[in-house]
Symmetry: C2
Subunit: 293 residues, 2 copies
């Protein structure tokens, strides 16, 4: 595209509005400027093109033959722009909002609240992708991820949604009331872990327990881990917030707790502008985190 020789777009717009309204005053109102502004723009355009586009006869205007010619083509062009922008906005508005998160978060936090969001924003189509995999936030693909961590990811924006520690918990029915000083002493019990993750063995390694191979781990879909944990099928590691109630009632026991500052679930988005549905979702998340813990 060669941009040379094209008159100021604003003057073209002004003229197009004038051709439409056949009045500087009306055109000015349509463009939200004064009649004088429109008049000046049109005169500038006439000067640029070296031709008379409108004839002024006192009150009222008329297009010259040349003006009419230019106007018809310009009208098409500006309507193309209109359409382009409208189409874009519509696309932005209606494209489903893709959210990814861990299955545990989905089951324990998001699903119980999600109908409220659908009620608030019936026009926003949600696509939830609960998966243990860390999904790329590619533009045009996933809009937002909810991840556990300390908010220290490069190249993305992270805002804490839920502050909670990472805990190793088990049903009292499984481990009784014994005190466990040493993580190694937990190797005697069966463990539950989400398919495709290895948080347990990583935690063990962090604690200095090397014998990961000795672990008796049952891998199962993420949404089943908490149920198994409560039933006493095994020990597991999870965010404390999701089992807080069970801990309070004494049904579950906290065996070890990672107390690292900043631990919790984060809203992770691409840097830059958020499209309206994403904005709505993020602010809904934050509102619910404040009110309902």
């Amino acid at each position: 595209m060669d941009w040379r020789g094209i008159p100021s777009l604003n003057s073209l717009r002004a003229f197009s509005a004038v051709a439409d309204a056949l009045s500087f005053s009306h055109a000015g109102r349509a463009l939200n400027v004064s009649h004088a502004a429109v008049s000046q723009q049109v005169r500038a355009l006439e000067k640029h093109l070296g031709a008379t586009l409108v004839t002024r006869d006192g009150r009222g205007l008329a297009l010259t033959a040349e003006g009419a010619l230019l106007a018809t083509h310009l009208e098409d062009a500006f309507q193309s722009i209109r359409r382009a922008v409208d189409l874009f906005a519509e696309e932005e508005q209606s494209r489903p909002l893709k959210v990814t998160m861990t299955p545990t978060f989905a089951v324990s936090w998001l699903m119980p609240r999600i109908s409220d969001f659908r009620l608030d924003h019936p026009d926003i189509e949600l696509m939830l992708n609960p998966t243990a995999e860390v999904v790329d936030l590619r533009p045009g693909d996933t809009d937002v991820a909810i991840r556990f961590g300390r908010g220290e990811w490069a190249g993305v924006e992270a805002e804490q949604l839920l502050a909670t520690n990472f805990v190793v918990v088990a049903a009292r029915s499984l481990v009784g009331d014994n005190e466990f000083q040493d993580p190694e002493s937990l190797l005697q019990f069966p463990w539950l872990q989400e398919l495709g993750t290895n948080e347990v063995s990583m935690w063990m390694q962090r604690q200095g327990v090397i014998a990961a191979r000795k672990l008796n781990v049952t891998h199962l879909p993420g949404y089943m881990v908490l149920d198994g944990l409560r039933r006493g099928d095994g020990i597991s590691a999870t965010a404390r917030a999701f089992v807080e109630t069970d801990i309070q009632t004494g049904h579950l026991r906290v065996l070890f707790e990672d107390e690292r500052p900043g631990s919790g679930y984060y809203i992770v988005t691409r840097p830059g502008m958020m499209r309206p549905p994403l904005k709505a979702f993020v602010s809904w998340l934050k509102r619910h985190a404040r009110f309902h813990g």
Copy 2:
């Protein structure tokens, strides 16, 4: 057309240029601005639309899916504008230049010089309309008129091309060497006058000679009047400049001369901008009036 909600046209243009060049720097060069200007415009557009349009990765850019969508439609729209402007300019350039003038002026002044104009501007198509009728300068129709008078016409622009008095002349062979003190004494001679005009009787009335009906007038096409005058077929009234040579040689005699300030031939155009071919013609006229009288 509803103009609300459309982002700044300049930012749309900047983005379109970026989408085309896939580089702020190149786009800036194409738009004749700095890379920073383009960058800012695009960022403003992203803010307005609430979406990320381009991803910056160090050196080089890439459009997001949304950006690509918008860009394709915008490209069409801006090319429409391009076409509209180009078409207009072409039309302006190639539409024949319509000129009207009196037949006398055409024969005596314009035709002897016109081939020079065609040589200078072979691309400009000329349409000459030599007629006694006073033609309206309607936009899109007649571009310029050459009229005799004193430059006092309302609603048009008039610039003197040729200063010359209005004279009543006759061949010496017709009227001899007698002195004529009184216009009335000329009634004895035959008169020549252009078809469709009555300048002679109007001149008579201005001189206080009422008996217009007594005039012996031969009406003939304008381009034949001067020839008849020189042959001695009758007295006529005309602009002095066209018969100056005959007067100098003594072949024609000036019987009366209207010495009113400002008398002459005028270039008469519509107020406002002149399209390029008109500009070229007018300046050619003035150049030749200066050099060749």
